[in-house]
């Protein structure tokens, strides 16, 4: 499988937060979700891919090219959607598009207008009149209209109502009908990724916890629940995190099949959702 993005040993140190040893690939032709709690480093990773901030160490390759040495040609092929799109407030949408078009060799005005129509946005509307959801739509229309090979989005669904979110995810699915297109988006709304993502990369406290196919994760991870104090967390095979209460022990495992055969009927073994995984790894009493 070839990759749209390859990241190796990426490091960025801030005073109170350090992103370190970040290594993962974003396979071409698929949707990859970058998940993690707030402050985990998702935005930092995306800014480093876009070279908006300086890295301390490591390597980022986009379309097989170094992202520093080939910055202009890489960026012409990326559609970047910010969490809060910012454009000159008093310009009409068509004016913003005309100002940006020269930067993109594959700009397609017809496609842009068709997308606005799709989203029921008028090209003559002034940017500041748009709601947050409409701004996201406009931003996505810009990205899609220059026929970007890689759509990079930072928390695109945050603050959107379910209708807008569903529509946005639908557009992304439609995009990768073309297997040369790739999507990477960060989100802390795991349910959006649960259905639509092909791969999941989980980041926590500046480090990658895992990066794998979503189906594989949802099939092999699980939550084991037992009542009383009879079980020690260490007894759970594939332990990745746990939470203890007065009445029960809940443990996250990356090997639910092993847990099932170990405990049989004496424990409830359920599939884990991405939300469970995020919760136990980041907020559980401890993680292995």
């Amino acid at each position: 499988m070839d990759n749209a993005i390859e990241i190796k040993g990426l490091r960025k140190a801030y005073k109170s937060f350090t992103l370190d040893g970040v290594t993962f690939d974003v396979p071409r032709g698929y949707i990859t979700g970058l998940i993690g709690p707030n402050g985990a480093g998702k935005t930092t990773v995306i800014k480093l891919i876009m070279n908006l901030i300086r890295r301390n160490a490591g390597e980022v390759k986009v379309f097989g090219l170094d992202n520093l040495r080939h910055e202009p040609e890489i960026k012409a092929r990326i559609g970047f959607v910010y969490d809060v799109p910012r454009f000159p407030e008093d310009l009409r949408l068509e004016q913003i598009a005309s100002a940006l078009a020269p930067f993109y060799p594959k700009w397609d005005r017809g496609r842009f207008l068709a997308l606005l129509d799709d989203f029921k946005l008028s090209p003559r509307t002034v940017f500041k009149k748009l709601s947050h959801g409409m701004k996201m739509q406009f931003s996505l229309a810009l990205a899609l209209a220059h026929d970007a090979d890689l759509i990079l989005m930072d928390e695109p669904t945050a603050g959107l109502d379910p209708v807008f979110r569903f529509e946005l995810l639908e557009k992304l699915r439609a995009l990768i009908q073309d297997e040369r297109k790739t999507v990477l988006f960060s989100s802390h709304i795991t349910s959006d990724l649960e259905r639509v993502a092909d791969f999941i990369t989980f980041i926590h406290r500046g480090r990658i916890m895992f990066s794998a196919g979503k189906d594989d994760i949802l099939e092999s991870w699980g939550v084991v629940r037992v009542s009383g104090g009879g079980l020690r967390p260490e007894d759970v095979p594939g332990l990745r995190g746990y939470r203890r209460s007065e009445y029960s022990l809940e443990a996250l495992t990356s090997d639910i099949a092993a847990a099932r055969s170990r405990f049989g009927g004496s424990a409830a073994c359920d599939k884990a959702s991405l939300e469970d995984i995020m919760f136990f790894i980041s907020r559980g009493d401890t993680h292995a």
């Binding site: 032709g29 698929y30 949707i31 995810l169 639908e170 699915r173 439609a174 990768i176 009908q177 297997e179 259905r195 639509v196 993502a197 092909d198 791969f199 196919g213 979503k214 189906d215 949802l218 099939e219 599939k271």
Partner: protein, 125 residues
């Protein structure tokens, strides 16, 4: 081809797809040579991961239900009549096994189960 995905089902999504496609092939709703939607199209229509539909098609291919021709797509495979009957038999067996399992949980014995079966079988004739 008709497929309905349930999010609350305990079965993995790829299994829901393979089960429904198989049922349609066995029932004759899908016939030999019928084209299936592409992996990416099906993923889009069902709003699920491409990997999931890919895996479903791979399973169907492995079990001989469909053929994939590079560059052309996937089609319902030539069904050997004998094999088809065997597959249907297996389906019946699976369903019976499920019924037996449920009966055991309720403490229904073999004799009583036989009676129920005879009754059901008679009714349908």
């Amino acid at each position: 081809m008709k497929i309905i995905i349930s999010n609350s089902s305990p079965d993995p999504i790829y299994e829901q797809i393979t089960r429904q496609v198989k049922a349609q092939i066995i029932s004759g709703d899908l016939r030999e040579g019928d084209p299936l939607p592409s992996i990416r199209k099906l993923a889009h229509d069902l709003q699920i991961s491409v990997i999931t539909t890919k895996r479903a098609y791979e399973e169907l291919e492995k079990e001989g239900f469909i053929d994939t021709v590079e560059g052309k797509g996937s089609f319902v495979a030539m069904q050997n009549k004998e094999l088809l009957r065997e597959k249907k038999m297996k389906l019946v067996e699976e369903k019976l096994a499920g019924a037996v399992e449920e009966a055991k949980l309720l403490g229904i014995g073999l004799a009583e189960l036989r009676e129920m079966l005879a009754l059901l079988h008679g009714e349908k004739e």
